[in-house]
Amino acid sequence: MRDEDVFDSLLEEYGESVKRLIFLYVRDKAITDDLTQEVFIKVFSHMNTFEHNSSYKTWIYRIAINQCKDYFRSWTYRKIIFNPFIEKTNDNTPEQILIREDEKSLLTQAILSLPIKYREIIILFYYNELKMKEISNILQVNESTVKTRISRARNLLKKKLGGVYLE
């Protein structure tokens, strides 16, 4: 199979999940667009050097996460003030629906407000449903560190939310 064909199938298979992952990191749709492009340009450029030591998925996710972290370190990020919350509720919705949506919103806010190393572990483990070994490969840390971070992230969420949402 030619590299171009492999790339086409990777774009097809991972385009959506990578873009969602990036959005959860940066929480801004326009920046997500840009970073997603950058990730796949890198994937394309490095296709011939990929050594198959890990799966394509792990490799692409690692590129995506590093791209996000580079962005957080960049000048552009430090100059931006985020206000990314988009409310979907409206005043005509029944009260109970509003309450349920608010509960969700608070849990999301608590997750997204975690320091990046705990936020990413929650996203990768609970959202992307990756195995500890895969996360360990992506983040280049050992599995025991992944376990510790998951546990610490859960405790931080409990501390923020008083445990109500984590039961």
Partner: protein, 222 residues
């Protein structure tokens, strides 16, 4: 827990597909320009960059214009004793409590954990007159959320500006609020804005808080 987090984050991202044909086209177009760089491409790219720069500048000035305009529409921050509207007084008192401290008394109580009799008594004394269903408010984390986080991280909160605006044309008493909160630690202070919507019942008590956006403050307290 796993499903709950997944569902919440899915809700946050939205159901819509994020990765579209436009993304694919953009990626392939970039790849083609890498493979076949040409002067025409460079010219188009420069033109595109110039266009983006102009668009960004327009967006920036528009944001400043809209923000300034909106601020002009807001009421000035009035001291509590001068507020005549009982509903606004109730909301103001609640917001002041939520974003002030924690003082020594509350800190000592929080040190005893979340299930102490002292905390129960504190909540009743401070919130019973303000909210319709205290237990529900506690369960939904609309009481002491930020003060607990501030206490854990050693911060002090102080509301610098509280704006409360009634939403017109609603059947019930519904108010938008915006609080500029100062959070300080070791002589270093920052501010964050918390916004939301509060409903009051026919007795003038807070029955519902929704659309709360406290992410900026949550992040600041980390």
């Amino acid at each position: 827990m796993s499903n709950r987090i997944r569902d919440n984050l899915e809700d946050f991202i939205g159901e819509e597909k994020l990765f579209t044909d436009k993304d694919k086209r953009n990626i392939y177009s970039r790849i083609n320009s890498i493979k076949e760089p040409s002067s025409k491409n460079t010219y188009v790219k420069r033109l595109l960059h110039a266009g983006l720069l102009v668009a960004a500048l327009c967006a920036f000035f528009l944001t400043i214009y809209v923000t300034t305009d909106q601020k002009n529409l807001n009421e000035a921050n009035i001291p509590l004793e001068q507020i005549n509207d009982n509903n606004v007084r109730t909301i103001h008192t609640y917001l002041e409590k939520e974003f002030t401290g924690p003082g020594q008394e509350l800190s000592d109580i929080l040190d005893q954990g979340l299930y102490s009799v002292e905390l129960e008594r504190y909540l009743e004394e401070n919130y019973d007159d303000l909210v319709a269903d205290l237990e529900q408010m506690i369960n939904r984390n609309y009481v002491l959320s930020f003060l607990r986080a501030a206490h854990t991280e050693g911060y002090q909160l102080q509301p610098k500006d509280i704006n409360i605006q009634q939403i017109e044309d609603t059947k019930n008493d519904v108010y938008n609020y915006e609080v500029e909160v100062e959070y300080s630690k070791n002589n270093e202070a920052n501010t964050a804005t918390v916004t939301g919507v509060i409903n009051l019942n026919e007795n003038g008590k807070i029955s519902l808080i929704r659309r709360m956006d406290g992410l900026e403050l949550f992040e600041g307290l980390n």
